[in-house]
Symmetry: C2
Subunit: 300 residues, 2 copies
């Protein structure tokens, strides 16, 4: 196979694009896909600062690297979840990346700062770990970006987003479907949130890291094994294998032609938001879900 761009021998093929690339042209392709996503969805401008939520995995480190390469002011955010060796290794990968590039990494450690950890919170609240984790990360990512005046960037790729969409579609949850967008606008108490990797698949972000020499944590989180999201990914991968491009058509078809059907009417904000009595974050309850989780998990 020859590289689509330069006709040199190709090292990676992308079936859904029916294309193959040599190493340098593949890196160019990845950057261009991110540039296009940022432009197409008006994610942020050259003068805005982006805080990349970094897990130490391939997606978030690739995103951080690409944003730096495109010349954006991009800092990292690492949230320590207290998931044993997995969290230790994740943090080390994030710190190593930042250190090599002399990039700024904001760190928030849940056990040190809030006095609980995700596995313990899951047990205490009878939630599955991924639920306690998602809730905590959502809260802390938003707070970190909001307090410091950043746009929040996450490394969700098209495989992630298609799997989330699949899960939402199986239930036809209007609230989830209305939030399935690569840009969530800032509003009172909420930082803007963007997903600049939506035009890349997870195989591409992994290859990007390998070609760039980025040392990422390969292991999945041990708590994620067997969760529904990974099941949806497997189902979609089986379909993609048969019909390359199905996954991207599913996700972008939704964004282009369907998502507006599920958007809340213009002018209607989240109903009845008020400040959390404990932390001040916007919530519909007296105490926000994160502070409630922390209290039940025995936070100091």
């Amino acid at each position: 196979m020859k590289c689509r761009r330069c006709r040199e021998p190709a090292v990676i093929d992308i079936r859904r694009h029916n294309a193959a690339f040599c190493g340098p042209c593949f890196l160019h392709h990845c950057r261009e896909q991110v540039r296009r996503a940022i432009d197409d969805y008006a994610m942020f401008g050259a003068d805005e600062r982006v805080l990349v939520a970094v897990s130490g995995g391939k997606d978030s480190l690739a995103l951080w690297d690409i944003l730096l390469g495109l010349g954006y002011h991009a800092d990292g955010l690492y949230v320590g979840l207290g998931i044993g060796e997995y969290s230790d290794a994740s943090g080390e990968h994030a710190r190593a990346f930042a250190g090599e590039r002399q990039a700024r990494l904001v760190e928030v450690d849940i056990p040190a700062e809030y006095g609980f950890d995700i596995p313990g919170a899951a047990v205490a609240t009878h939630r599955v770990p991924c639920s306690a984790c998602g809730l905590s990360k959502g809260h802390l990512f938003n707070k970190a970006a909001l307090d410091r005046g950043y746009v929040l960037g996450t490394g969700h790729n098209v495989d992630d987003e298609a799997a989330v969409l699949f899960g939402s579609v199986l239930r036809w949850g209007a609230e989830f479907l209305s939030r399935q967008h690569p840009v969530l606008r800032a509003s009172d108490g909420f930082a803007r949130k963007v997903k600049p990797l939506i035009r890349l698949g997870e195989r591409e972000t992994a290859a990007y890291c390998v070609l760039r020499g980025i040392d990422y944590i390969v292991e999945e989180c041990p708590n994620a094994v067997g969760n529904k999201h990974l099941g949806y990914k497997e189902q979609l991968n089986a379909i993609e294998e048969q019909s390359p491009g199905t996954k991207a058509a599913f996700y972008f078809g939704f964004l282009d032609r369907v998502s507006s059907l599920f958007s809340p009417p213009a002018g209607s904000g989240p109903a009845d938001l008020r400040p959390c009595a404990s932390c001040g974050a916007p919530t519909t309850s007296p105490v926000c879900a994160f502070c409630s989780l922390a209290a039940r998990a025995g936070a100091r």
Copy 2:
């Protein structure tokens, strides 16, 4: 396990209902599900005649049997597709069922009446066989019902409908999504079409036939092996296995809360329909898709 209705020992469990039934109560359950579907979607009244499209398989024979049991005037329609031994065996099962009940079976044989068969038409038109077959059945089912003044009933169950919906959702095809309804209203040149089995799964229609002593053809059509629809069924079955009820929630959630978003605006009919120059059926082309297929397949 005890029967949910009579507390006798159960012979079949239905995981998505978290229920089990003895034989007689299971048959009652199946009839009630069909009665509810007919009522909920106003499919037809007691004075209307239903033509059940019968393949000789479990779904269509169960539907015919249940409609007769509920006291409806239900006749059968068998379309011979010319798919070798499979069609021979299908027709025999349909005729045997009709004979035992002295029910009326309308027969249309494509090779005898139109001079081609489905495998040949697929080759001649470079379609997959399921495409040539679906197109032909759609045309001939409609014509048979329309010519004779029937409502057309098909044996699509919730597994079928969820798989079709899944395929439509992967592409977000508005036209397909707008037609994904258990009742398609009659309009000029189109008979009303109804799917009274949507509240039953394929495992239930199979059990219904076994308990009722209905001898149905067990084999899948040999042409269907490996088609996308069966792939979608497998994907959904894997999810259903993990989370019983997901499939029905997906399908009925769509019908209840989403399908209206995809409906064509009231008053807008199919665009530019005119009579087929060959057979008079409504079409957007000079010659309808069935007559065009037949001509290319070398019909007499």
